[in-house]
Amino acid sequence: MFHPRGHHRHSLHCILPPYLLRSVAQNGTGPQRAAALHTAAVDSTFRSLRFASTQTAQRAPSRIISGMMAESQCHRSIYDLQGQETFPGTLARSEGQGATGDVAVDEAYDGLGATYDLLWEVYGRNSIDDSGMRLNAHVHYGTNYDNAFWDGQRMVFGDGGGDLFNRFTIAIDIIGHELAHGMTEDEGPLVYFRQAGALNESMSDVFGSLVKQKFLNQTADKADWLIGAGLLADGVQGKALRSMKAPGTAYDDPVLGKDPQPGHMRDFVRTWEDNGGVHINSGIPNRAFFLLATQLGGYAWEKAGHIWYEALRDTRLRPDCGFARFARVTLMAAARLYGEGGAEDTAVRDAWNQVGIPVTREKVSVAFIPPQQGVPASKPSRRPNA
């Protein structure tokens, strides 16, 4: 496969028989293991070995790589919009080029690289679509623009007005967050509304946080579990946009108001705002992931991350998936990956229990959700189902 430059360090061209692949997957380290798993993921022989005794809930491999080659292909392009809101802007840095000196350009480049590396090295995933999709980021969007978004194809970052927000590339987890939206769309999708939308948001926070933790080489107990640390301008009373560890505590400021995120089903917010509270109720699955990762200890991207990634790829994750169903899918993923009745299985169950979602593989129940919360324009909606 033609491979212009960069990222050769992760390459592993495998033409290996399945038993050897399995051995590498089990005993190899880092990139080797990831590449073997990646190759395994496109090889049905290995797949049937691996899941011989369990339900094969995984998607059929949709992209067959020729032979059994596993190779990383990180292709980043960072465009400078120079304050305009019309795309694409000027190409400022492409794959393999050195730093430009424009901090937003370079942060976007490095953040995309760190995200690509996490997906590739840990999960054996080749970019957003697992087929080497090019990563395009556009910086300096608009003037004083206080946001970052994923438009379905590219990441867009504002410089922030400086009074409330700094530039949005400052937080590597926000870059990972935007890119993870592309991955969720590719694997899910999860519709951007109500509980499925909150799961979509949570998935982006989880992988965004994992990008940051891996970049900083932090174990779960050392990580701050904040989303968007450094983003709030000086003088704003707060430390980040969200806290996965303690949802609802990220900021409390006269202008911004108070972080509205719940960390438990009893505080679930019913609202029509924000696509049905997608950035609000994501606090609940976010905290479940934090609890799982800290319970398991070590690096969060390892077991906890693998369980979440496996769940994201599970065919039972329907586009309208609610929290309870997702919890069950993670439990099944934990059992599939690490065995039934093991510490991981128990930890997943405990984590969901602590956020008010008791779950078993057979059935799920949802804790009582109180009516009407104090968020503006809230309207009653149906009880969330699994």
């Binding site: 003037t143 978004f149 379905g152 939206h181 999708p189 951007y192 509270g277 950035h279």
Partner: protein
Amino acid sequence: MRIELKREGGVAFIPGLNRPRLFNLADLPPAQAEAITRSVQAASFFERPARVGTASKGAADQTRYTLTIEEGGRRHSVQLLEPVEDASLRALLDLLKQVERTAARAPPNTVNR
């Protein structure tokens, strides 16, 4: 002329920024009020459909603005999805954001009703 600007979405739900902002042109410095009036006309605001722009598949964290303008007995709302491609509507939005920003860190009640 009275204008209400409401934001939704973005990478975080920030309650303080989610509150609608009201601009009463009578309370603004004449130059600003005049610029806004011209911009509303240039954008043919009252002839616009209720929604401008559609989210593409899989898009997330985009900001949605709802602009409501009351003038001489008529009232019209237009929802704009970021990025706003229409140049004249974008100019109007930018202008309102500028006015808003000048009062951004002042006590909440000065811009807000």
